[in-house]
Every structure is written in structure tokens, then in C-alpha cells.
Amino acid sequence: MKQFWEKLSYTRYVMFNPFDGFYEIKFRNRGDASIATLFLLVNGILAVVSAQYNGFVINTLNVKNMNSILILFYSVIPYLIFVIGNYSTTTLFDGKGTMREIYIVVGYALAPYILCQVVAVIFSQFITTEEVPIHRLIVLSGSAWFAFLVFGGLITVHEYGVLKNVATLLCTVVAVSIILFLSLLAYSLVQEVVAFVQLFITEAIVRIEGWSS
């Protein structure tokens, strides 16, 4: 437990010194996948919270159609797909990082984003339409920080140069789109099979009823 707190507080160092921090995590075991999971979940919950509790001026959520499970899902899944996509490309480009390390990088990188989100949600309670750009700036700076941490972290764990990292990130985009395409394909295929089975059962029931009467 004490070790967990130690590792959690190490996040602060990682946030400001990504290259050093992720190096320490990779080689000196200063971080943990469980902390990454924690950040990922907190990020998902925060997405739900900001959808519901953002100040009135920027909140146009239709509460009737809100689905918090779906929001949680959509704010967690993209990161996981990115991890898979990045791992599948970097293994081909002799990246040194394991799947666990990429996961840790993405999870830890979410920490500043979470902070900015919290600040943004609180700030949005006290703004008028003229101050909306400031709110946007807060969220955007969180995203930029996140992007920087992911970039730096991936360079460190894969032991890449900048250019190679950019190249693999571009490939990751391709990989992610392939994953999305295939999962969509699989989804519709399963849907059709289910529909077919349903149709088959209905047909059978109707026929059996026809015979018996």
C-alpha cells in the first residue's frame, strides 16, 4: 500500500519530466500499470461528470438522452485501441516498449488532462459566454500536455528518435483505423447472424403453430 502511494506521488515528477520519469518507470520500476488503470477510469468518470455538471453556459446536454455508461465507454476505449495499435506497429519497427509500458505511458499521460478537466468543470460554473474561450483554453492545454507526455513517453519506452516516433505514430493511426474497420465489420456480421437466427426461430415457431392447428 505504501508502495502504491509512493508510485502515485511519482506521477507528479513524470508530469513535469516525462523523459526522465518514464525512463525511471521502465527501468527502475517507479510506476505501475494499476496506477495507469486508475487514471484511465478516473478520466472516464470525469467525462461523465463534465457532461452532467459542466456549467449551464457551456452545457447543452440533453439529460433525457444521456447514457453515462456509453460516455464512460467512449472515453476509455479509444486509449485502449491506441495502445493496441501502437504496440502492433512498434513491434514491427523494433520498438523496445512492451504493451504494458505503452499502457503505462498512456495512463500516466492522462494525469494532467484529468487535472485540467477538474479545473475546467469547476471554472465553468462561474463563467459567461464571453469567458468560454478561457474554458476551452484550459481543456485544450490539458490535451496538449497529454499529447506531449504520450510523445515523450513513447520515445523513452521504445528508445526511438523523434522522427521514428512520428513515423510510428502515423502508422499507429493507420493501425487504429484498420482495427476500427475490422471491429465494425465483425459487429455487423454478428448482427446479421443474430438476425438470421432470430428469423429462423420465428419461422420455425410459425410453422410449428401452423401444423398443430
Binding site: T60, N62, N65
Partner: protein, 500 residues
Amino acid sequence: MSVQRRSLIGLCLLLGLVLVSSETGASADLPRSYNYNLWLETVPSAPAYRLKREINVGTMPGVYNFGELADIHVGKERVYIVDRIGNQVIVTDHEFNFISRITLLKNEQNRIMTEDGNQMRLTLPEGAFEAENGDLYIADSGYRDAKTGEARIVVFSETVDSRGNAFYYAKNIIKKPSNFVGRTQFIPSKLVVDNAYRIYAVVQGGSEGIVVLNADGSFSHYFGTNRIRFSPIEYFWKSLASEEQLQKMALTFAPPFNSVDIDENGFIYATTSDARSIDKVARFNPSGDNIIRRMGYLPPIGDVPDFLTGDESEIISVTVNDYGMYAILDSGRGRIFVYNFDGELLFVIGNLGLARGEFISPGDVSWLGDDIIASDKKKGTVAIYTPTEFGRLVIDATKAYYVGNWDEAGEKWLQALRHNSNYDIAYVGYGKMLYMQDRYEEALKYFKLGNNRSYYSMAYKKYRSEKLSENFGLFAMPLLIVFGAVVFAEYKHHKRAGEQ
């Protein structure tokens, strides 16, 4: 005795029940209505108008040979019903009592005018408008001039013959002006006349805009063109095409207007039903720019376009009253949409159907005081809709707000809310009153209920600065303490540094 009494009580109860049920029956008779919310979902609304009368123009005493009701125009004391197929214009008073029937062109002596030995008569008239001085302008769109092959506008004036009967004589005939330019054919369909007696005529298929004629009948200019939607693909191909290819391609014309009206300040309202047009109803300033306000959840385009097919409302007519409220008529679904000056949807009236007050083929819509009258082409009827209690409150509130009576408007809005608690505009309207009375905290509540972020923001700004100045000490104290602490620490630090 007791049996008798009991049966008496029973009878009374039964009677009461019948009375109550007949009353609820009457309210259930009102058409159901709707409005839109922020997410463009339909929200049930209290009906704002109910059918007062439906007049069958063909069976009105004094009317014969009735064909198709094309246009209806309400003047100061007269109502003009244009019968396109019957080649006539029927004049009635505001109670729809027959006054006169215009079909032949007569001179001031009540003699029929002739041209080339033929009696002059209206042919397929499509629009009528009463000018400021009471003259009646009729777009005689079926007439074909021997020389130009194009139509004319006939100006009538009301007068009394020797027997004291009112009749209309043709005061002036405006044919295609000699200085007319452009490829538009001069076949006026609908027209309005402003206070300077300039004529604004919508011409059939005219893509160059509304034709403006001077008071003397000479051509002035084209006015107000329609903006169109470009499909990106079309744009791409056109950008690639060479000069010669472009010449062979079909030209994209601005969609023509199909109806006009003029408000008290002389601004021209025009509608179009063309699917390519961005705006369905336009309000033109004197230089021809569309300055219609779009403060509503949806710009004034009638219904939300169908999600799958993209079908939009087909707006064929517009009418505006002295308080900036305008109504547009959707011929596709037979609905009248009433907007306020800001372009917020107030009411939806009417429907397609065979019942009284429903449309088979909607023709035209017009204000008659606070009543709305709408004509049906095929049925040959004019339906008069009159405000319900709820509609009356909303109209009064809108009028009061338009002339700057904030307090009265606010009270009316609050009352309207009792009839229809789904009515966002009423919440905002009441909130505006509270805002004007510097009751910001309450205003915030109502602006939130009315889902209006810009007004909420305005009120919040005031509320926030009020709270800040009230509790200045509370905010200033910690800041002072922190500032003092920093100064003190710096001082200590420097002192120690100096000692070393």
C-alpha cells in the same frame, strides 16, 4: 320520499357529469399543437389558435363563377380574394360581407373599357395589394400584351356610381416598362406597394430578384436575390471545368420568390419554396440584404428538415403584422408557422386533412387584426383562426415587448406559462422582465428554464459582479493575507541573504 330525493341527486350528478364531459369534449376539439426545444425535438404545446369560421367563398351571396382561390389580401377596411381561374377579384369587408366583384376593367363612368374591339378583363389574376391611399393593385398575370407578349399590373380605385353602388374602376394600367432590363419576363404574380407607391412584384420564375417599379410605372431595379446552397461536388467540378465547358453547363439560377409582404417600416418579406435556397423567408432592407433575425432554436424555415430524406417545409406565403410577428405557410404539410420579430417560433397552426379548418391545398395566409386567415385553393374556403386564451396572452406579451413595455410583457408571459409550461419563450420573456428590474437571481432561474444561454450569461454577469461587490471583504481578505505573507517572506529571505 328518500327514493325520490336520491333519484333527484342522481339526476343532478348525471347532468353534472354530462356537462363536465361535454366541456372537456369541447377542449379536446382544439387541434393539438407543438413547438421545438433546444435539441429540436417536438414538444407538445397548448393550441394558440382555434378555428372561428370557415367561409366558402363560392357560395357567398353575390359571388358566382368561382374558380380557384389564389391569393387573399387584407386591406384597411377590405379583404380582397383573388380567384385565379374565375378571372375575378372579390371584395368583401373584414366580416366577409360581399361588397364588389372585379372582373371587367371599367372606366370612371362605369363603362367597360375596350382594347382592339374586345372587352378588357382580368385574366388569371394572381395577386392583389391595397396601397396606402386605398388603391388596389392587381397582378394580371394571364394577360398577354400584343407587342411584348408579357403581362400587366392593373390599378383599381373604389368609387360610387350614380345609384350609389360601389364599384372599382381601372385607374391605371402598368405594362412592361420600356426601360426594363434583364432576362426576366414581366409576368407579375404577387406584389406589394410601399408608402412611396413603388411596386415590388414577384415575377413567375424570376431568378434576378423582385422587380421594383417606380410610382410612374418605370423600371427601377431588381431587389433582393436568394442565396443558394452549393453542393461541394458541384463546386469541385465547376472549379475544374474550362471556360467552354462552363458555358455548356446548366447555369445555376437563384431560386425565385413566390410571395411578398411589407411591414410597417417598409421592409419587404419574401418567401421561397425552392429546396436549394438557404433561407425560406427573407426580410430585406432597402439595399436588398436579408436581415431576418434567427434567434430561435431553428432559423425560420418551418419544420425541422426530415433527417433521412432532407424534406423541408415548402413555404409559399408570408404575412407580417405591425408588431414584427410574421406567419409563413407550408404547403407541403399545411401548417402555419408564426414567428416573432426575433425569428423565434411562437405557434404552429393547422394541418392537412378533410375536417373543417384543415387544408387540402393551402393557398395563402394573412393577418386580420390578431386573427389569422388562411385560404385553401381546392376547397375555395377561407379559414379564420382566432387566438385562444393562451394565444392571446402570447400575442399581447409579444406586442408589449415590441413596443418596450417590459413589465406588461413579463406579466403576460408568466400567465402564458400557466397554460403551457413547455413554452421556453415565455420563461425567457419573464426572465427578461426580471432582468430589467435588476432581479438577477430570479432572472437566472427563468433563463435556465427557458434554455437560453446568451440571456443567462448576461444575467449571470450582473449577478456575479453584484455578489463580488457585496462580499468584497470575503474575497479580498485571503488575497491580502497571501500578498502580505509573500512580502514578509521575501523580506525575511533578503534580510538573511544580506546578513550572509
